[in-house]
Symmetry: C3
Subunit: 345 residues, 3 copies
């Protein structure tokens, strides 16, 4: 594709020779002539001078000191990069063909939408509804009464328990479990634990994506809900009765305990843990491994365990490293003061 | 159901109008007239005044200042709530019907107990024994020589490796792996890692429940054992040779390293990690994200990383936030002391 | 087996009666007469005096004060133990028989190597190549164009996405996902997240072992690579574009964020988290739960969050416990100093 045509397709302003032929997208360090690359992380800014790429997607006002590459200027270079990836996709997925594989177990009264594809070794329970053009990969288990919208992608080994509701354009990666029993037990007087039946709803709204082997539990009462446009990474645990708002991002191995609410546009980095029965307000951000034992105000940026404002945590962490030195200084002061006190009588 | 009848069924003392018709269990904030709700978490005490529920399960001596709801007083309100949930279950599961699905692969010499249900795409190995009335959901893989007791529920995509022993009334949620190889390697002189074969036993005792996508490894020697009545949440890792006692509770994403022993009634909150070759005594409790590098005495309540008594950890964490301030105070003192020293000669 | 023969087989120097009959390997505390045991962890040294084992594998120069057991001296006792385990394996696995199970869905143009075994309910996509003598357990899903080498063991419920490359002698435990989409989104101006297609390669080199339910993501560009001889435990998350060197060990529940490089022979203990776009140099070691936000020099030994040298972290952690006491000392000093200052005028 000519670079001028790519610039138009991506909505970028071109600085350079539009007649260059572009054949691939590549990372800035691995790029070769014929490649378009991108710069959205300042960590890689120095690579601009040395990249062999033919073109680089940059911001509208980024100062580029020295590069042999043409520039594609965008008000949102990362989104432009994402679109370039779509235009030059490296390989593709091979989903099951439309229709129902003969080696599947689909209940006679299940409804399979037009153009939907059901792979081999898939079980679909009584009364379930699979929306048009939804793709169900091999070995998926869909319970009775489940409702799945259109254009969803349900990858291999996913379980969707009975009566769960899934919206449109939802992507569930391999091994995701939606609707497993919440971890709820009442301690009996004799010390045994009585299981609290977990049979209420889970609702996954439109445009949600959930990463491989993540688990979303169903509650005893009410519902567990994942809001529209929320993206969840791999190996994340969402407990029973959790409510997650819209456009939230949860990185890998995050865990959210029962009955907690995350409002819209929360961002939790990897391995963050959130205790139960809390509310994280709109736009809360937590850095990796943060442990959150209390509710957090909208707009807060927190770190540490227990979580405190990120700025405070950075400062306290810097002092933490010097604690042995601090203790020594304190001992010295104590000795000097005692000497003075003695001198003064 | 009449409230008076519900009170009798739950073993509660009724305060209020026993002729009210109860149709549902609901959370205290979402409850409507006709609902029974419960108060077991003081966090929600203020909701008692405003709940629209017709009845509330409370403790025998809880002081209820103002509510329009009838009261159901119980010496164990959480267990009474659990029983109420069973009486008004919201929906139900649809297990495979009793018998063996024709799309399964069951070894000719496997024994399937009376009333057991084996779903489609299930593999059962040579000589395996599935107890009476046990339910095996679709796509489960059960190895050769496995013994599973009666009234178990084995959810979709579970793997039970060869020769594992599972007791009665055990629940394994979707994606659980029992008997995967322990992580054991011996470093050779040339730096490569020699695999130590992991072929010894795993025993899951009666009444254990294990959450979705958790993994229980088998050891090279001896056994891995999960004691009767223990409950394990999602995405938990139990390494090879771990011994877990009775009635222990492990919340989501906990990890226990190899050859460690947890005695009875241990409670580990979410994301706790325990190092290998340790013993946690009876009744040990650890708060979320605690890291435990050493054995812990019975009855201890620990937090932090490395784990220390919870009370100490709370106090030290409070000071941690003030470390920058502390350092400044220390600098000030040092300056003032130096001034005094100079003055004194 | 006669002890003398065992000594020869393990390359050990025998001290004691070579005519003893050895029948089993056992842990030092559970061993009985007729057992060989081993001592590689000084934690168990005291058990040497009381073990009932007939023989013990120890180091060449270990001082053994009192034991009734014969000694098998080795320059690598842990590797000798691993070999002894192989010689007396407790039980064995029952893989699917060679050939393709009739209840599988293998694309007509897939290539199944000589002696390979494909179990029931396995899907193999168009053009995939399964190497000679590789074993594929039930319910595995292998995408189109995948290449798997020889002598691999692919356990139940594994997913290998389209076009992934797997070397020789690789072991993937149950529920592993290789090639799930990396967690990559570009934020649009309207606040929604645009999915960045993740279709590039994952390469798993020879002799890699990956634990149950771990997930290895594929990137949009470049590749994710796991180097030869690397061993990964259960529930580990490897993000898109990560490069892991040779002979690295990752314990359970470790998470590595996108585009990070681990050079050779890195060792990360359980629940360690590593941020994105970093480099951990050759031989880096991190203790359990360490959080690594910055690149780490080769040969470093780090702990804590944020990670600092292990030695410093141990010292600072010791002071952390005493922070309340430190604060009190500081207050006392402040008061005494103020008194002195007043006295001096």
């Amino acid at each position: 594709m000519k670079l001028s045509k790519l610039a138009t397709g991506l909505g970028c302003r071109l600085e350079g020779d539009g007649t260059i032929e572009i054949v691939r997208v590549a990372g800035i360090q691995r790029a070769e002539p014929g490649d378009v690359t991108f710069l959205t992380n300042s960590r890689y800014a120095a690579d601009l001078a040395t990249t062999r790429a033919s073109a680089v997607i940059v911001g509208l006002t980024d100062v580029v000191q020295s590069t042999t590459a043409a520039l594609l200027r965008s008000d949102n270079p990362y989104a432009a990069f994402a679109r370039a990836i779509m235009m030059f996709a490296q390989g593709h997925s091979v989903p099951p063909p439309p229709g129902v594989d003969r080696l599947s177990a689909v209940a006679p009264d299940a409804t399979i939408g037009a153009g939907a594809a059901i792979g081999p070794f898939v079980t679909i329970g009584a009364g379930a509804v699979i929306g048009p053009r939804t793709i169900v990969y091999p070995n998926v288990v869909i319970g009775a009464g489940v409702r799945i919208g259109e254009y969803c992608v349900i990858r291999s080994h996913v379980t969707i328990r009975d009566r769960i509701t899934i919206g449109d354009r939802v992507i569930l990666h391999d091994g995701v479990v939606v609707g497993s029993d919440g971890f709820g037990f009442a301690r009996e007087t004799d010390g045994t634990h009585l299981k609290i039946l977990q049979l209420a709803d889970v609702v996954i709204e439109d445009d949600v994506e959930i990463g491989a082997n993540s688990t979303i539990d169903r509650p005893a009462l009410g519902e567990t809900r994942i809001g529209a446009g929320t993206k969840i990474d791999n190996l994340v645990h969402i407990a029973h009765g959790v409510a997650i708002g819209r456009r939230t991002l949860l990185a890998a191995q995050v865990g959210i305990a029962g009955s907690t609410t995350l409002e819209d546009r929360v961002t939790l980095a990897g391995q963050v843990g959130v205790a139960g029965h809390l509310t994280l307000g709109t736009g809360v951000v937590a850095t990796a491994q943060t442990g959150i034992p209390n509710s957090v105000e909208a707009g807060s940026f927190v770190s540490g365990y227990p979580a405190i404002p990120n700025r405070d945590w950075l400062k306290s962490s810097a002092v933490f490293r010097k604690l042995p030195e601090l203790r020594k200084t304190l001992s010295d002061l104590e000795r000097r003061l005692a000497a003075l006190e003695e001198k003064m009588g």
